[in-house]
């Protein structure tokens, strides 16, 4: 992204209404989340009698119970495993394909590339049913690969498009020099191109992690066995199990938000550049 427009700050009289708008919008985002965070520290009685104030007394057992049970850590671990494996595979497979699309000409290249880009336009939901049948026939239900591999497949288009764009910007001289020094295409790809593409790889990795982390529909149909459930399934299940215990559900929701928000703080830059690049190039 280019540098935002700079220049002198607005005069207070002009800035004030803008701040008011921003604060109102900001509150509409922060207040529901804060309602969750504080609600988790209340019991259900306090939630009705004292919805806005600070908890009194602070009830910590909603949070400590969740953090002390496998009902949170197991789905968290599964989500991490599935996100990392999906990301690694989709980035590797896409980088290899994008390398060819960016730097080789061959008959049918544009057709093949278009095939991948068309994949970008289709809602995942249209494939869920046949995908489920296919995974069942392959024996991949209740198997993390049953979620990982389809996520890789559906992540390929955007990853290939972004990486191809980046690989094209690396001057051909670099590759010529490497070839003269005896680099094979594979060693050029592995030892020179990938290290040079680190920023782009970080961008597409963040996109892939977020997509995997938030996926619900696919794990919902693939995992019958609770020991493979990911965090979104855990949240949904917990909500059903403790239907009347609002405070406890709020605590679980809040705890589940933490990893995603932490990733956001760390990788906001990559996420933004990935989303804008993915959207404008698709």
């Amino acid at each position: 992204m280019n540098a935002p427009s700079t220049g002198p700050r607005l005069s207070p009289a002009r800035a004030l209404p803008l701040h008011v708008i921003c604060i109102v919008v900001g509150l509409s985002i922060v207040v529901p989340v804060l309602f969750g965070v504080l609600g988790g520290f209340k019991d259900n009685g306090q939630l009705t009698t004292n919805p806005f104030g600070l908890p009194s007394p602070w009830v910590t057992e909603n949070y400590t119970d969740i953090l002390g049970s496998m009902g949170f850590w197991l789905p968290l671990g599964n989500s991490i495993l599935i996100a990392l494996a999906s990301t690694l595979l989709v980035v590797l497979a896409s980088a290899m394909a994008a390398f060819v699309f960016a730097r080789y000409a061959f008959r049918g290249r544009e057709l093949l590339f278009t095939l991948f880009t068309v994949g970008l336009m289709f809602p995942f939901a249209v494939a869920i049913l046949p995908l489920y049948i296919l995974l069942r026939e392959l024996g991949l239900l209740d198997n993390p690969l049953g979620v990982i591999l389809p996520q890789v497949a559906f992540g390929l288009p955007v990853t290939i498009i972004i990486l191809r764009g980046f690989f094209r910007t690396i001057p051909p001289d670099v590759e010529e020099a490497a070839t003269l020094d005896g680099c094979t295409p594979f060693s050029f790809f592995w030892r020179i191109l990938l290290p040079m593409a680190r920023p782009a790889l970080a961008t597409v990795s963040v996109l892939a992690v977020v997509a995997s982390w938030n996926n619900f529909m696919l794990p919902l149909v693939v995992f019958n066995d609770p020991s493979w459930w990911t965090l979104p399934l855990g949240v949904n299940q917990f909500r059903g199990q403790y239907a009347a215990d609002t405070a406890r559900i709020l605590a679980y929701v809040v705890v589940s938000m933490v990893p995603a928000l932490a990733l956001y703080i760390l990788a906001e830059r990559q996420l933004v550049s990935g989303l804008t690049a993915g959207a404008t190039k698709g």
């Binding site: 540098a3 935002p4 427009s5 002198p8 700050r9 607005l10 803008l18 708008i21 921003c22 919008v25 900001g26 529901p32 309602f35 969750g36 939630l47 009705t48 290899m96 394909a97 390398f99 080789y104 000409a105 008959r107 991948f116 994949g119 289709f122 809602p123 939901a125 249209v126 494939a127 049913l129 046949p130 995908l131 489920y132 049948i133 296919l134 890789v152 390929l156 764009g165 051909p172 790809f189 961008t203 619900f216 529909m217 149909v221 979104p232 949240v235 949904n236 909500r239 929701v253 589940s256 938000m257 995603a260 928000l261 956001y264 933004v272 550049s273 804008t276 690049a277 959207a279 404008t280």
Partner: protein, 327 residues
């Protein structure tokens, strides 16, 4: 596959190595093919196996009456599932509700996102923090957002009704009233996604050369004139893409609905994806559910093609497409 190494930008025609004998040219080609295939194979095989094959399989099973069990379906019914689909009140309702969601997005969510993007483009103190907050809901999953909002909107002790109570307004049933649930759901969806559209607009806005607006200001153009005649037209490509993504998003909306309302009450918030899921995974009418899949697929395809043909066509590469600007 005829592989030829190229050096210049990827679109230029491959140079012919005239000096080489035909035999060595053929060998060189074979060698290049041996290089290319292993690089393309993983992506191509996964994409074929798990995107193209399922789409084909869905097309096939949509022609059968099938409960989804035991190998492949045998009870061929032709287009019966589709005939049934277009008389299915729930599905026709899905189409109507989808349209409502898209229209609401066009007239509420996207203009708000655009306004905020332009606002955050001003030299305003704390704008970095504002942007960080506005965009944050995007990283929360629809499930987490949905569960949080079932609590926020709960008729008993929910945040919204408590706030209403402070102002002396009677509490409402946000999610269990068929006449209100769709609009309520739209606001929850927008809560999560307006930041995404704002980020797109912000990126598009920052690509407009500042010289243009500065020159217009020097010529005495008003803020409105600058917006109407410079900012808006130059943001055109970004807006068109954001409209496209928003529409595709509405077509496939599932997680949020499933968690917030399950599509109810009495289908008042149901979407195509939810109907598909109900028939396919709850009622085991897999043939019929496949017909819904195929129809969703066709709607997306026709929409994407028409949109490409008539709307995005004007946006030549380079208008917003900044090749390789990823940092």
């Amino acid at each position: 596959m005829d592989a030829t190494r190229i050096t210049a930008p990827a679109n230029s025609t491959p140079p012919k190595s005239a000096a080489l004998s035909p035999g060595s040219q053929r060998r060189a080609r074979a060698r290049r093919r041996n290089t290319l295939i292993p690089f393309l194979l993983p992506a191509l095989s996964i994409f074929t196996g798990l995107v193209l094959v399922p789409i084909g399989l869905g097309l096939y099973t949509s022609l059968f009456k099938w409960n989804g069990f035991g190998g492949l379906p045998t009870n061929f019914v032709g287009l019966d599932n589709f005939v049934r689909l277009f008389g299915d009140e729930i599905f026709l309702g899905d189409l109507r509700r989808g349209l409502v969601l898209v229209l609401l997005s066009l007239v509420v969510q996207l203009p708000v996102a655009l306004g905020l993007a332009l606002l955050l483009n001003q030299p305003l103190r704390f704008r970095g923090i504002y942007r960080l907050i506005f965009f944050a809901p995007y990283v929360l999953s629809e499930v987490i957002t949905g569960v949080l909002f079932t609590m926020v909107l709960s008729p008993t002790g929910g945040l919204v009704n408590q706030i209403f109570d402070v102002f002396g307004i009677a509490g409402q049933t946000w999610l269990s009233d068929p006449s209100r649930v769709l609009v309520t759901m739209f606001f929850v969806v927008s809560w999560k996604y307006f930041g995404f559209h704002m980020i797109l607009y912000l990126a598009g806005r920052q690509d407009i050369p500042p010289e243009l607006t500065e020159a217009a200001m020097m010529d005495g153009a008003s803020t409105w004139q600058i917006f109407r005649n410079i900012t808006l037209p130059l943001l055109g490509p970004t807006i068109r893409i954001s409209v496209f993504l928003s529409t595709i998003g509405a077509i496939q909306l599932f997680d949020m609905v499933w968690v917030l309302t399950g599509g109810g009450p009495i289908h008042a918030s149901e979407t195509m994806a939810v109907t598909l899921f109900q028939y396919g995974f709850r009622r085991y009418e897999v043939g019929y559910a496949s017909a819904i899949s195929v129809t969703m697929f066709m709607i997306s395809l026709v929409f994407a093609l028409l949109y490409q043909r008539f709307v995005l066509r004007r946006d030549t590469e380079g208008a917003v497409t900044r090749t390789g600007d990823i940092r």
